[in-house]
């Protein structure tokens, strides 16, 4: 049975485990119909021209994990940003782990989607926000919607800010020969509220894992959201990440995506600016080797006037790795005085590595500033000579220059411990030894 049929037929089994009377279930039923009709996207579709899901569809993924696999703290410790100084929502093979988690209801809700989708106290928020910004016809998003049951639920009321950053961690243990996960998360940040979130998918074995996630983020007026995606998974883990962000006036949302690992990673990052004086920022660092593949698809829809968007993606591709950057910017006719900037710079370290980069601008307003640029290049020879003339051998000099190239993106990371973590990771990936600073 191919993966699509398996998923569609699993829906009935899924229904045995959820409340089919809940209004959310109507949304799920609609969604599975859409997926059944459309199936997995193929390379014939423009948006999937450079990323093939064919190989993954041949794998006999388990749709539901059989049993809970216990993990010890020592197995996962290194993946946490901080032992105490962060809230944690942790899932093991898709199942919530209360042992590893630190949730809260103290002024803010940092808890579980499964609770939000079933308990009456969350009904109001779910009614207003659930599946409101996620696509209703993109097939992988609807597939996730159909099976939406578990994930992170974060609600930050007006004028609030959680005391510490929130880590959302999804571990897979290899309990199944191959496992498909479909986490569904909702983040609502009300007026003048602020939140910092770090998200990570991590497989602990070399068994195949496919994650098809959907995250909806709503930033109300003056809200500030910092979202960090740390993608440094093993070579048998694939991720299709669908993130939808709705912003209201004067909100500031920044998404950083660090793609250093995995087998196949597809990031669909969508911003909708429903207000004025909005700032949307997307930054990315991609460092790949082996046969790894990462596809960054961004969309910024400028719907109202006087807004800004900034995109800065940097990539270093080695060995047989492949990368895609497709940045779509839509500026509606009334969205005058829009400032939209997009930059994608790449370095190919190997003859066999490839990058496909494509800006896609659809501008219907006439008083706007939009710029885009993409480069695919080698390292600067003068800079190389400078380093060598100081006694740094060519190989190390190249690594140091690549480090400088990638590291530049980290300036906007506002969590110091995360910044130094990523910094070290970049250095490690590029074989740069870091010392100390005065």
């Amino acid at each position: 049975m191919d993966l699509k049929d398996k998923l569609v037929s699993s829906f009935m089994a899924f229904e045995n485990n959820v409340d089919v009377e809940h209004p959310v279930h109507d949304i799920r039923s609609e969604a599975i119909k859409n997926f059944e009709e459309k199936g997995f996207p193929t390379k014939k579709e423009e948006a999937w021209k450079y990323t093939s899901l064919k190989g993954l569809q041949k794998i006999d993924f388990s749709i539901f994990p059989k049993e809970v696999n216990a993990l010890g703290y020592k197995d996962v410790k290194k993946f946490f940003l901080h032992e105490i100084e962060s809230y944690k929502i942790v899932f093991i093979d898709g199942i919530y782990s209360s042992f590893f988690s630190e949730t809260t209801h103290d002024g803010v809700d940092i808890c579980l989607m499964s609770a939000a989708l079933t308990k009456p106290m969350y009904k109001q928020v779910i009614d207003v926000y659930f599946n409101k910004i996620a696509s209703k016809d993109e097939s992988l998003t609807t597939l996730n919607t159909a099976f939406s049951r578990e994930g992170a639920y974060i609600y930050i009321p007006k004028n609030k800010m959680p005391k510490k950053p929130i880590e959302i961690l999804h571990f897979s243990t290899g309990n199944e020969a191959s496992l498909m996960l479909q986490p569904r998360s909702l983040v609502v940040v009300e007026e003048n509220a602020e939140v910092q979130i770090i998200e990570r998918y991590q497989s602990l074995t070399t068994n195949e894992v496919l994650t098809n996630s959907v995250t909806e983020i709503f930033a109300a007026e003056n809200a500030i959201v910092d979202y960090y995606k740390v993608q440094n998974d093993v070579k048998t883990a694939s991720l299709i990440d669908n993130t939808y962000i709705n912003q209201k006036s004067k909100s500031v949302v920044k998404v950083h995506t660090f793609s250093f690992g995995g087998k196949l990673t597809r990031n669909n990052l969508n911003f909708y600016q429903n207000g004025e004086h909005i700032d949307s920022t997307m930054k990315g660092v991609t460092i790949l080797g082996y046969k790894q593949h990462v596809d960054h698809h961004t969309l910024v829809h400028h719907i109202e006037p006087n807004c800004e968007s900034h995109q800065d993606y940097k990539g270093i591709y080695g060995e047989n790795s492949t990368g895609v950057f497709n940045g779509k910017i839509i500026v509606d006719k009334i969205a005058q005085k829009t400032n939209a900037f997009q930059q994608n710079n790449n370095i190919l370290v190997s003859d066999k590595a490839t990058i496909n980069t494509k800006p896609q601008l659809e501008i219907f307003a006439d008083d706007v500033k939009c710029s885009h640029g993409c480069t695919i290049g080698q390292l600067d020879e003068d800079a190389l000579f400078y380093l060598q003339s100081r006694g740094i051998p060519k190989k190390e000099a190249r690594a140091l220059l690549m480090y400088a190239f990638a590291n530049n993106v980290l300036e906007s990371v506002r969590i110091p411990v995360l910044k130094s973590r990523i910094n070290r990771l970049i250095a490690e990936k590029l074989g740069v030894r870091l010392g100390f600073d005065l």
């Binding site: 600067d380 060598q388 003339s389 051998p393 060519k394 000099a397 140091l400 400088a404 030894r433 600073d437």
Partner: protein, 250 residues
């Protein structure tokens, strides 16, 4: 220490150096002067080993060893240091981390262990003081957003840290105000010893008031057309380069 014999070199079939002869011994300071385009910076780059330049004739010999086939880093390990006219900006790598990498790579090439961190810190503090550099400066990204003066001071700081046998200062005075010039020159003078040598490349005489040369050479169209003592620099300052250019053909 350094012997340049009948050196012809250029880039892409374009010959820039046309037979240079120069001998620099330990303890000496040589100034190389000349009009724009005379080949001054090319000479510096060729000695330091910039790959795009090709030696078509003659040789550059350091302590009896021909440098032609040696990579820039190997030359650095043997004690050649080039202070750049336009130092490169390297965002995300601090001055401290950069110099630490340079020193430890040089030590590695000599079969030595990394310099212990406390020793490195002590050395950094000492040299920073010598050049009137404050600590904040050292944790900034290398040359990123530095003023012209800061860049040059940083070059001399690296020189002080690496303690080369032969330092080549390529237009170190350009873009410096008089105070910065004094600090930089002072730094160079303090580092001078009977065991090392300095080649100062400059268009103007003004730096040579502070770093006093033993020999002055005038470069024109890729050749040394006149050599003398420090008085020659003053003469050039008074008369300009035209008399050299005109006389050079004789």
């Amino acid at each position: 220490m350094l012997k340049i014999n009948n050196l012809h070199a250029g880039i892409d079939d374009n010959e820039i150096l046309n037979g240079i002869n120069l001998e620099v011994n330990a303890g000496e300071v040589h100034a190389i002067m000349g009009p724009n385009g005379s080949g001054k910076s090319t000479l510096a780059a060729v000695i330091a080993g910039k790959e795009e330049y090709e030696i078509t004739e003659g040789s550059v010999v350091l302590d009896g060893e021909d440098l032609e086939d040696q990579a820039p880093e190997e030359r650095a390990h043997k004690g050649i240091f080039l202070s750049f006219q336009y130092p490169v900006e390297i965002p995300g790598v601090s001055v401290t981390n950069f110099i630490r990498t340079a020193i430890n790579e040089t030590r590695k090439a000599k079969g030595l262990e990394d310099m212990p961190a406390n020793q490195m810190l002590k050395l950094i503090r000492e040299k920073a003081e010598l050049l009137d550099i404050d600590r904040k400066f050292l944790s900034r990204s290398l040359n990123e957003g530095f003023s012209g003066g800061e860049k040059k001071r940083n070059e001399i700081f690296q020189l002080a840290m690496l303690e080369p046998k032969l330092a080549i200062l390529d237009e170190t005075d350009s873009g410096l105000d008089i105070d910065a010039l004094r600090i930089v020159a002072n730094g160079v003078n303090k580092l001078k010893s009977k065991d090392n040598a300095v080649i100062v490349i400059t268009h103007y005489q003004r730096l040579l008031d502070y770093i006093v040369p033993d020999f002055v050479h005038v470069l024109h169209e890729g050749k040394i057309v006149k050599s003398g003592d420090k008085e020659l620099a003053h003469e050039l300052e008074d008369k300009g380069y035209d008399w050299i250019k005109n006389g050079a053909t004789v």
